[in-house]
């Protein structure tokens, strides 16, 4: 936290977490060029994730996936007025320092990139810029929040267009929140141990019945119906990675997914926006993947 003119305090937990609150009910889209960023903004995206390659292409390319070239990120920041996020590798706090220096609005410490540290994540409290992190269950979400993440997303299985893993992770998180809600305090230490969750944060979840930060869905969302499914399962909003710009008609699909996320409980709207938006990304069936091809297991 920093004190500035007229008693302004920047980088506080309230403004970090509050920024994510402003994204709720919205769609955050992966983009790789200023032109794609404009398409996303025109469709009604609440933010864009600036990347060199979308997850499906990262998968196809293989090798080491790193933070994007800052020139690409800056060009995207120039092109749109909505918030711009960017990804840093797990544990790579220098990539995060660089992203903070160029002024991105949110950093995704992401398993989609090749991890830079096999034991430790970034100490996100040390930054003014807020972080979002992936999680598959409540324990993982609370560990990331303990490290300073101000927003959580399900990991799903990025770059596949197969929603099953995002569903699994969202259901798991919601089930575990329901399981601990209202439990007597003497039971919480043992549960914290089982879930590998920081005790104080687990106590907060048990007391309030919800995660202390906003929780988006990510990893495999490819259709308006997928987005609405995740919202009905309890997501606060959705990230769409490869699902838009790997589809036949990105502009139409992007717009349809935005409307489906707002009107997720209205099947008539969902039916209307699902019509005539071209083919979805082809995708990879997660069940047919080898264990080592899954990126959701990255993160500690």
């Amino acid at each position: 936290m920093t004190q500035e003119k007229s008693g302004r305090e920047t980088g506080t937990w309230t403004v970090k977490k509050g920024m994510a609150e402003m994204l709720k009910g919205g769609v955050i889209m992966d983009v790789t060029t200023p032109e794609q960023a404009k398409i996303a903004e025109d469709a009604g995206a609440v933010a864009v994730m600036a990347l060199e390659r979308v997850p499906a292409d990262i998968r196809a390319a293989g090798g080491v996936a790193r933070m994007a070239d800052p020139a690409i990120i800056e060009a995207i920041m120039e092109a749109v007025t909505i918030p711009v996020m960017a990804k840093a590798r797990i544990g790579h706090f220098v990539e995060a320092q660089i992203l903070e220096a160029i002024g991105v609005d949110y950093i995704d410490e992401s398993e989609v990139l090749t991890p830079a540290d096999d034991k430790f994540h970034i100490n996100k409290h040390a930054f003014k810029v807020p972080f979002v992190c992936g999680a598959r269950n409540l324990g993982e979400a609370l560990r990331r929040i303990g490290e300073g993440a101000a927003m959580i997303r399900t990991k799903g299985e990025a770059g596949t267009g197969d929603v099953i893993e995002a569903v699994k992770h969202m259901r798991c998180m919601m089930d575990e929140i329901r399981r601990v809600s209202g439990l007597p305090e003497e039971e919480l230490m043992t549960i914290a141990k089982e879930m590998q969750a920081p005790y104080d944060l687990l106590v907060e979840v048990a007391r309030t019945g919800r995660l202390p930060v906003v929780n988006f869905a990510a990893g495999g969302i490819a259709t308006p119906a997928d987005a609405a499914l995740m919202m009905q399962l309890g997501a606060d909003g959705v990230f769409v990675g490869s699902g838009i710009f790997k589809s036949e008609d990105p502009a139409a699909r992007a717009k349809a997914i935005v409307e489906a996320t707002t009107h997720y409980n209205d099947p008539e709207v969902l039916a209307r926006v699902s019509k005539g938006i071209g083919e979805a990304m082809r995708g990879i069936h997660v069940g047919s993947m080898r264990e080592e091809e899954r990126i959701q297991t990255r993160g500690w």
């Binding site: 500035e4 003119k5 007229s6 008693g7 302004r8 305090e9 920047t10 980088g11 506080t12 309230t14 403004v15 509050g18 920024m19 609150e21 402003m22 994204l23 709720k24 009910g25 919205g26 903004e41 009604g44 995206a45 609440v46 933010a47 007025t81 909505i82 918030p83 903070e100 002024g103 991105v104 609005d105 949110y106 003014k128 810029v129 807020p130 935005v258 409307e259 707002t262 009107h263 209205d266």
Partner: protein, 195 residues
């Protein structure tokens, strides 16, 4: 006494936080996603969020027109952050769809990007002597106010809370604090309108 029924525009953004703040003041909150949800509400809150997203969804579903009609017929409206942009008559360097009902000129993101987002104590005589904790997130700045606009709070010489008759705007987010004084102020505006 029947509780006041307020609509909260629920297309995107911090609408749940606004609904909670209103309910803490003893009023009822209704989520507004379509024009028909506006029927029977006594006032409307347009929350914080992404103003380009909210503006587009509002237009696509014909909400903008119905809100303008109801406001013209006397419905009070309170806009926070993105809501302030949508209420403004003029938004600098932008062609995004807005409601354009209040005589103010606004510059989006004028307080900077997210790393510049901040909290600051505000002096707001209209709601009492205790300072109000203003939470500013990629906040818009009110650059010019028309003659009918009353400035209720300032920061570094620029208005951050302003009122014009039945319209109220703040560039900060009272819904993110536990302090419901501004929501109560708006509820008083609504009940004054009704009586």
């Amino acid at each position: 006494m029947v509780a006041i029924k307020l609509g909260v525009l629920a297309l995107q953004g911090s609408f749940i936080e606004h609904a909670r703040s209103i309910e803490r003041c003893g009023a009822r909150a209704v989520a507004v996603r379509k024009p028909e949800d506006l029927e029977g509400i006594e006032g409307l809150i347009i929350p914080g969020g992404e103003s380009t997203t909210i503006g587009k969804l509002m237009t696509r579903y014909g909400l903008d027109q119905r809100i303008r009609e109801l406001a013209a017929a006397g419905m009070p409206v309170y806009g926070t952050c993105a809501g302030l942009i949508l209420l403004a008559r003029r938004v600098l360097a932008s062609s995004q769809p807005v409601l354009g009902m209040m005589d103010i000129t606004v510059m989006r993101n004028a307080y900077g990007r997210q790393v510049d987002s901040f909290e600051a104590d505000l002096r707001i005589p209209a709601i009492g002597d205790t300072p109000f904790r203003g939470v500013f997130i990629r906040a818009p700045r009110i650059e010019v106010t028309g003659p009918g606009v009353e400035v209720l709070a300032e920061l570094d010489g620029k208005p951050v809370l302003a009122r014009q008759g039945r319209f109220l705007v703040s560039s900060f987010h009272p819904e993110l604090t536990g302090d419901a004084r501004i929501h109560r102020y708006f509820l008083n505006m609504v009940s004054d309108m009704a009586s």
